[in-house]
């Protein structure tokens, strides 16, 4: 069975390490915060200016002056800090944030990512995505393996305007966990439970590297 969005988030949460500062993008990445493994403490940074972002507020306790980068109302954890946008991106470019998780429309086998523009159709802007992908050492993409038309989003080359080049390290989709290796290629690390290597191969347009037995994910 392919994973649902929550299961993708749950699998990515297994990558979290104690003491990390983490920036979560909009969509599936946001869900990662719901699955922090027991005994691990991480702090979430939202690039509009908060470190120590907490869950959504209770109804009636929303504060217009307290939102995340997705413009959603949030709360602040004990020990949280607010800061301006220049300081926020100093944290990001200065590599003080250990992990960035974001969504993508396309990822290429050499780690390029496209997630901000569809020429002639959708131009919303890149927001902080270009700063994040250009700076972070550890970038995980959370996305579905195929787009709504059923076309692979894991390509030899991105067809859409790029957000960043050679920056993605790992991709977690509804079908698989893959690592982008030096020299290019999606190295298959894990399969979604019940999904075969052949199915993953068929759904991947870019170069898929399969070495030895590929274990199933443990969720």
């Amino acid at each position: 069975m392919a994973l649902d969005k929550n299961q993708i988030a749950r699998r990515i949460a297994q990558e979290l390490q104690h003491g990390w500062y983490v920036n979560l993008g909009i969509g599936i990445p946001t869900l990662v915060a719901n699955f922090i493994p027991e005994g691990i403490e991480v702090e979430f940074q939202s690039e509009n200016g908060i470190l120590g972002m907490g869950p959504f507020p209770f109804e009636g306790e929303e504060d217009a002056d307290l939102i995340n980068a997705g413009k959603q109302t949030i709360t602040a954890m004990k020990g949280a800090a607010y800061f301006d946008s220049a300081t926020s991106f100093a944290m990001i470019r200065g590599q003080h944030v250990q992990l960035t998780v974001l969504g993508a429309m396309e990822v290429s086998e050499n780690g390029d990512i496209a997630n901000w523009k569809i020429p002639g159709k959708m131009v919303k802007g890149m927001g902080g995505a270009m700063d994040l992908v250009a700076s972070a050492d550890n970038i995980i993409v959370a996305m579905m393996h195929a787009n709504k038309k059923g076309e692979s989003k894991l390509l030899s080359n991105c067809s859409l305007p790029l957000t960043g080049v050679g920056c993605v390290k790992k991709v977690v989709t509804n079908l698989a966990v893959m690592e982008i290796v030096e020299g290019g290629g999606f190295k298959l690390l894990e399969r979604a439970p019940g999904v075969s290597v052949e199915e993953i191969q068929a759904a991947t347009e870019g170069k898929l590297i399969i070495k030895g037995e590929i274990p199933e994910m443990v969720l």
Partner: protein, 232 residues
């Protein structure tokens, strides 16, 4: 030094057609609502607006867009605004989209007297087109220039008559660095207090960056995405 003006009319009196204006805020959080309403009232045209977002259709900078008062927008993210998208795709509106961190740093640099800087953000993308590339520590960076504006309009939570400002929560966002980058900076505040009432240790932006300050009124503080959880 007393920076207080009586009202928004006096604060915005010097804004003319064709000027470049920075406006603080992220989404609808921390936007200078009073001054935006005043610009709508004045009908000032051909504006170049530097702001992270462009508001929504019927609030924030969306109001100026509907009124066709903006010639050019310099932003990082403009989703959730149909009128914006329509004007951009039809070519009525010039749009310069730049990475959020570069936008923040370009404003900061403008206010700090740094004419340009290198950043890795946008290398290898459309954003890098026509820009100088230089490799530092084995990594390519692009040259981005500073931004300044004829006017910067910011919104703070508290301010004193000397123009010292304190922001609240994530409403701080672009406001501090835009306050620094305006040739003239207008600050509208929810609470205007006499000097001496703010603890100097707590001030986020010193009054040196602010030329006019006024007590704002009738803040709507609209929430764009109301997300809540149920009490269990």
């Amino acid at each position: 030094m007393n920076k207080v003006v009586d009202n928004v009319e006096k604060a915005c009196a010097g804004i003319e057609n064709g000027m470049t204006i920075m406006l603080g805020g992220f989404g609808l959080c921390g936007i200078p609502e009073n001054s935006i309403s005043q610009l709508v009232k004045l009908g000032t045209k051909e504006l170049t607006c530097i702001s992270n977002n462009a508001g929504v259709d019927d609030f924030g900078l969306g109001l100026l867009l509907q009124n066709r008062q903006i010639k050019k927008m310099i932003s990082s993210y403009v989703g959730e605004n149909d009128e914006f998208e329509r004007q951009m795709l039809s070519g009525e509106l010039e749009v310069d989209l730049i990475p959020q961190g570069s936008l923040a740093e370009r404003c900061r640099a403008g206010g700090a007297g740094i004419p340009a800087f290198f950043t890795p953000a946008g290398y290898g993308t459309e954003v890098a087109e026509g820009k100088e590339v230089r490799v530092f520590n084995g990594k390519p960076h692009i040259l981005e220039s500073a931004l300044t504006a004829d006017y910067a309009i910011v919104k703070a939570w508290k301010g004193d008559t000397a123009g010292n400002l304190i922001f609240k929560g994530t409403a701080r966002n672009f406001n501090p660095m835009m306050a620094m980058a305006g040739k003239v900076t207008i600050a509208e505040v929810e609470h205007l207090v006499p000097t001496g009432e703010l603890d100097p240790n707590q001030i986020h932006i010193a009054g040196i960056f602010v030329q006019h300050i006024f007590q704002g009124t009738g803040y709507e503080k609209r929430i764009e995405q109301r997300t809540v959880r149920q009490k269990s």
